[in-house]
């Protein structure tokens, strides 16, 4: 009998909502994600701590984990689970261990109608408690991350901060780990904005503390990045800042365009300063020697949609083809990136592998750029692999390794070249 169960009940290339909430908790060093559910919520931390992020502090040998749960289950029924949760949250808020607490629950608690917003608002503790909508049945990991960032934006204290001229906050940055790639990204963006006469006062979030996030309310311009549009809009609304929606500052033209948009929003006229143009030209000069080696090669992408947008534009800049993208989320707006010939959102893993295998002839990919699961699901069989995005278990950045900005463009182009032309790849092909 033909086994059709794989088509009706497929394994999908997607990640759960709560993993996004954990990523947000991981990105704010003194935050706590409180999960209303049983301890089966905890192993998801392993997708981040230690495997993707070597410097994660979500778990602690002292027991002061930053993701915690209350062992709530659907059975036995409690007479008033909301009261129990309120009590526990009051305790956590008063523990002195955390500066902000995000509470959310497993899907069954949503079915039970748990009023997290009301419960969170009712906690009168020394630190804010804020709800993240329990949308696991409707959303994916990027929705979870965006929901948590919005919750953090709501949790910022009601303080009147005086906006300063020529200041910028980046809201909706995906800080999925506390490693050198993101540190270098932020340093690069700070440098570039500085050359434009703009001070980067806050990256929301940047791996720092909850208190540091408040500085987003000082900014004259809030830059809305795709991973947290709602949070960005809320921050701008709260502070009265100018809101500018952008994609990711990836690649040469991508970075230059990104800077232009921000400068325009900040009221800076006359185009980008010469120093920035010089950096762009220098990065282009750094990349130029690689172009002959990688131009016209075909690349398949497997990972998050927003990184895809930036990467597709950059690979087009490098002269590469991108016939297929496999996206690990539900459909999302892709912005201005180059749309590939074939685009699969949250496909079955078998369907995705078949789509890659179907690329033949001149479309046969020379490189698969994607996250770890692209590798573990066997998408890269016989194809050079560039590990990028969340998660990346076998590519860690102990030192600076940006992929944003002009410095990031050169670094990323170098990684592409090394992946395509590296000796291991050649040996693998021979084998």
């Amino acid at each position: 009998m033909k086994d059709t169960s794989g088509t009706e009940f497929p394994k999908t290339f997607n990640l759960p909502y709560q993993l996004g909430v954990y990523l947000a908790a991981n990105a704010v060093s003194d935050s706590c994600a409180f999960m209303d559910g049983s301890n089966c919520v905890m192993p998801k931390i392993d997708f981040i701590a230690g495997n993707h992020d070597l410097y994660s502090t979500l778990l602690s040998p002292a027991g002061t984990h930053r993701v915690i749960c209350n062992m709530a289950g659907p059975l036995p029924q409690k007479s008033n689970p909301e009261k129990a949760l309120s009590g526990m949250l009051s305790g956590v808020a008063g523990s002195g261990l955390y500066s902000v607490i995000m509470v959310t629950g497993l899907p069954f608690q949503k079915l039970a109608g748990m009023d997290y917003e009301g419960i969170a608002a009712g906690i009168k503790g020394p630190v804010p408690v804020v709800d993240v909508p329990p949308s696991s049945l409707e959303g994916d990991w990027l929705d979870g991350y965006a929901g948590a960032l919005d919750a953090l934006a709501r949790a910022l204290p009601e303080r009147k901060l005086k906006k300063r001229r020529r200041t910028v906050a980046l809201a909706g940055y995906l800080l999925d780990r506390n490693e050198g790639d993101h540190k270098a990204n932020i340093a690069e963006l700070r440098r570039l904005l500085g050359l434009c006469g703009l001070e980067l006062v806050c990256v929301f979030p940047s791996g720092g503390t909850f208190a540091e996030l408040s500085r987003a309310l000082e900014a004259e311009v809030v830059v809305s990045l795709p991973y947290g549009r709602k949070a960005a809009a809320r921050l701008a609304q709260r502070s009265g800042a100018v809101l500018v929606e952008t994609g990711l500052p990836l690649g040469l033209k991508g970075t230059a365009g990104w800077l232009k948009d921000i400068c325009a929003a900040a009221g800076i006229k006359g185009g980008l300063p010469q120093a920035v143009k010089d950096l762009e030209r220098q990065a282009a000069a750094d990349i130029a020697p690689l172009l002959d080696a990688i131009a016209h090669l075909s690349l398949v992408y497997a990972g998050d949609p927003y990184l895809f947008s930036g990467l597709s534009a950059f690979t087009a800049e490098l002269g590469m083809r991108l016939p297929l993208a496999i996206i690990d989320s539900f459909p999302k707006p892709l912005g201005t990136g180059k749309v590939p010939e074939s685009l699969l959102f949250s496909p079955g893993t078998g369907e995705a592998a078949a789509a890659i295998a179907a690329l033949s002839g001149y479309s046969r990919p020379a490189l698969l750029a994607g996250n770890t699961f692209a590798l573990t699901e066997g998408y890269s069989r016989g194809i050079a692999f560039l590990e990028i995005g969340f998660p990346s278990y076998s590519h860690h950045c102990l030192g600076p390794e940006p992929y944003f900005g002009f410095a990031g463009a050169a670094t990323l182009a170098g990684r592409i070249l090394n992946s395509v032309c590296g000796p291991m790849t050649e040996l693998g092909k021979l084998g």
Binding site: D3, T12, V41, L59, P74, M114, D115, S136
Partner: protein, 843 residues
Amino acid sequence: MESIVFFGKGGIGKSTIAASVTSLLAAGGKKVLHIGCDPKMDCTLSLMGRHIEPFAILGGSSGRPGLRDSIYQSPVRGVHCIEAGGPQPGVGCGGTAIGSMLDAMKDEALLEKDGYGAAVFDVLGDVVCGGFAAPLRRGFAKKMVIVTSEEILSLYAANRLIMMAANYARNGVYLAGLAVNLKDQTRLKTVEEFARAVNTRILGVMLQDPAVSSAEREHRPAAIAYPKSGFARRVWALTQEIRTARPPATPPRALPDPDFFAFAEGRRTAVPAGAPAGKGRKQAVRSAKALFSAAGFKPAGMEDSQIICDWKCGQSLYKVVIAPGSSAKGDMPRISDWAVCFHPTTPQEPPPPGGALMKAAGTLAGLRFDEMLSVFTGSRDFYGPLLNLSGPEDTTLAAPDTPRRPHMGFGQWQRFIFPAGLSQAYIPPGSVMVEHGDIECRFCSSESGILNMFNDNPGIKTPGKALNMPVLPRIDKRIVNTGFSSDDALFGDEKKVARSLEAAADKAGPGGLVEFYVGCSPIMLAGDTSSLAARVEREKGVKIMLERFNSFYEHGSAKGAVRVSYMAHKLSKAGAAKDRDVYLADSHDPTGVLDKLLAEHGISTVDRRKDFYREAASARLQVLSHPDTVLTPAFDKAGLKWIMPPQPYGFGGTHKWLGAIASALGRKKAPAGPSAAQKALAAGLWARASRYTAAFVLATEEIGLLSGSTALKMVPVLPVLAEAGFKVRLLLMTAEGRDGKAGKPGLPAEAAAQLRALKASLPGTHLSTDTFSKQEELARLLRADPPTRLVYSDIRRDPRVVSAGKYPFSTSLFEPGYDGALETWRRLLALCEWDFNERYLRN
């Protein structure tokens, strides 16, 4: 904006009154959205004159675009209607549809953006879960109106709804009052007494009126259809009362069930009307701790959701119980929304001073029970007392000896050694598993990975070994996941369950075993999964084992029996010739180290590839590495011989392992020990090992973790260390330390006996002990002893060890066999002689 929500017992006239109120609000010039929150979808019938397509159908389950498409303009001027909708009767979850619709309304800021002047929510009769209370969430209804008659069951429902109103008061919701729809005009007094008892007011009284029936037949709101009727006059007055209602000075208070029934029977209630539930609250909240202290109460913890206090009265100390009113026993004196009494263990001779207790407790009358809980906050140990609120069955979370992985224990100091064995569980080969759960449920277990916190698996990353890392959850020919979705929640999951079970049964084949696990979300739906399983079992000729929760890693007795029976049957039917000596039945070592070792000693092994049953049946002897409650009885039942020899670690252990296997196979000649070259290499390593000490940190009652068949993931760590001449040091945490209290460290008698037994099992080994009661003492002990270079910890790069300049080690460094023993000792010595931590990371 006016926002009103109507609740009340089913069939009491809620929709009739709500629709008329809506039409009168609109007649007063407001743009009104009438929101039907009843899966029956009949709330808007009179306003629309017909059924309308609900939000659940038009976009409720899959996204937001359907929201405005679901709003209909009523023939009644100024009125718009929307119905949440929901599943067919008896399936799915009606609350989900309401919650989804309100989420969409909130996301869209519908009421504000579309300029509504009033919103009227009409919620189904019997509020059965939080989903139906969704209109009381922040940003929606402000005024709650309970429709009731004078009948006792209707008042009982009203009383329960008042409880709900109190719960949602945090969102700014208040009970405006009661709308009375009298069945018997002579019994209004009953409702009036009830209103007094619960501290609320009557907003209006409706009487039986033929205009209502006529309007219902015409599908029109009675107040509009028959404007001169008595009903219209009364509902107009009700509407005015609702419009002008303001939050009450003291909130209503539901009667505890015993008091309600006393009221219903005409007896006096235990709670006097107007009891001081809210008196002095603001001040009281700020100073709950101070009030407790002033009254002589010292909170000691929680028991079964009740606060336990020590109470000093004169020279005597009593234990007292403060219970929430809703769960207090009938004879407990009530104060505010809680009750107080002496703890059941209190001696009755001499009689405890009840009067004095009431007087002291009376000084806390300004506190509500929830506010009292704040006495437990502000402590780092928030789990300890407050987890009891969830009930005693959940206290394992905070218990000191249960976590098997670090993230399973919270708010507590983590142990250094985690018990072994549980992660070795499996579902029987050849069986098929159906996970009926949502995406979060699918990701509820993961591989630890090579760099994460917990050292889960023996053996470091060695060429040829599989790399452990969290991956996308498996779905393959043996696992079916239903991917429970919001559509399943809304419309029911029966069809999907049936299809998944049929698919699994087809994979398992006739006579096969399907393990069917129902996760938390489907449990909430309470679908009839067992009937479906029984049908598929019957039709497909398979055994389906239904389990709640994803408990596949547990071998409970009933489940174990099914698994044993299935495996024994498959083993018996495998029909393979016994042409090999040994099957390493539970080995997960793809490098085949043990197979090679056995081959070197003339013992053949079965190549482990894919057919467990054929492979096992083709061996004369099954060799197990750890106790298994399924495999061993299955082997017994199938008549297969098995042994569980000492583990092959170290020279001594390896020799014993080989010897036990050879003996079980009837070989007369004992296998040879390590070669001369191996012995020479070992001698060089052992000479260095005697300079160093390996430490183990554990609680006194955990000494047993160091020995026995399940010790340290079945790896005989201490004997291997002892064989090489390492000194061993035990750092024992006393109970005082674990409880966080200061005290003189000591060793309990039982622990001392265990220690003596451990020493006896390691003759010739230098084994010393120290005790500590605080973490700071442990840090000092670790730093103070330079020869101690190694500290066992199952937490990778344990900061408590690293910060002392030492090296954490665990079973992950231990390799089996003679060559494996040499490699193990080499690794341990390399750590001892490595100065990275001492030089750079020591605090």
